[in-house]
């Protein structure tokens, strides 16, 4: 709290005029971002696209959210474990649903012959771990190169890096 206070130029005690607790702050930040992914998935899934294109759209979604929510996104991979009930269960529910839908698209893309028939779980994990850690690294790209980053990730993660 003292770090946050210093960052916004006040004493730690003064923060409590704006938020009621640290725990609630964490909850709001995490659930807001989780909602963004949930809604993005919903939009993509409602479109009539080949599964492979849906995967590309998901990659673009992750890049967009990472760029537009630079600060809060860094909480997503690890800090959610510190949520207390019932927020913890709410978060896990969103997370599980997201991963389930992501995996379903991967599985479908495999069945339709757009992807190799590999372990869908491993494929999901491999793609998601890269997208989740994007925030720790993407700053090397200037804001004008975001489209290049998106297409680079689509090549890396979907088309493959082998010649």
């Amino acid at each position: 709290m003292r770090d946050i206070a210093r960052e916004v130029g006040m004493e730690a005690a003064s923060l409590y005029n704006h938020i009621s607790s640290k725990q609630l702050l964490l909850k709001e930040l995490l659930l807001e971002i989780a909602q963004l992914f949930t809604e993005g998935m919903k939009v993509i899934n409602s479109q009539d696209l080949p599964s492979f294109e849906k995967l590309a759209a998901l990659i673009r979604l992750h890049v967009d959210i990472t760029v537009s929510h630079t600060d809060a996104i860094s909480l997503l991979p690890s800090e959610w474990v510190h949520l207390e009930e019932p927020s913890l269960q709410a978060f896990i529910k969103l997370k599980d649903a997201y991963e389930k839908e992501f995996k379903a698209i991967i599985t479908l893309a495999m069945k339709e012959g757009q992807l190799k028939e590999l372990d869908p779980e491993l494929t999901l994990f491999s793609i998601l771990s890269t997208l989740r850690w994007l925030y720790s690294w993407y700053s090397k790209y200037s804001s004008k190169d975001i489209d290049r980053l998106k297409e680079g990730l689509i090549v890396s993660l979907l088309h493959g890096i082998k010649t």
Copy 2:
């Protein structure tokens, strides 16, 4: 410290007959693992292999270390930031050197035509983030399937998942 003590069946105070401080414990765990990666890289780089095969060997190295050091490996992605000087600098040096050598192999594989000519930084990041988060996920594979996991990752990360 109290959690660790409970896990090994003693009081927190008794731990200090075995370790001198929490900070030193963190340092020893992290530097031990960092050394494993550094030595593994050295061995692989000393072999006369095509760059692409070196990348496959690196993937197998990550899986092997993850499996054989299940507990400590989870510290590697995030906890190193809590190291104090001079351990922090020592760790960063190993980490930077490892990533540099990893990237050099990727760049070479691209020049030799074994990989597409993509952004080497993005390619490195994409592969490493998957390998680093393996620990949080690989337990779904039974110990007998470790070879299948290795080859699955080589396909996913190097050969590509597209048909």
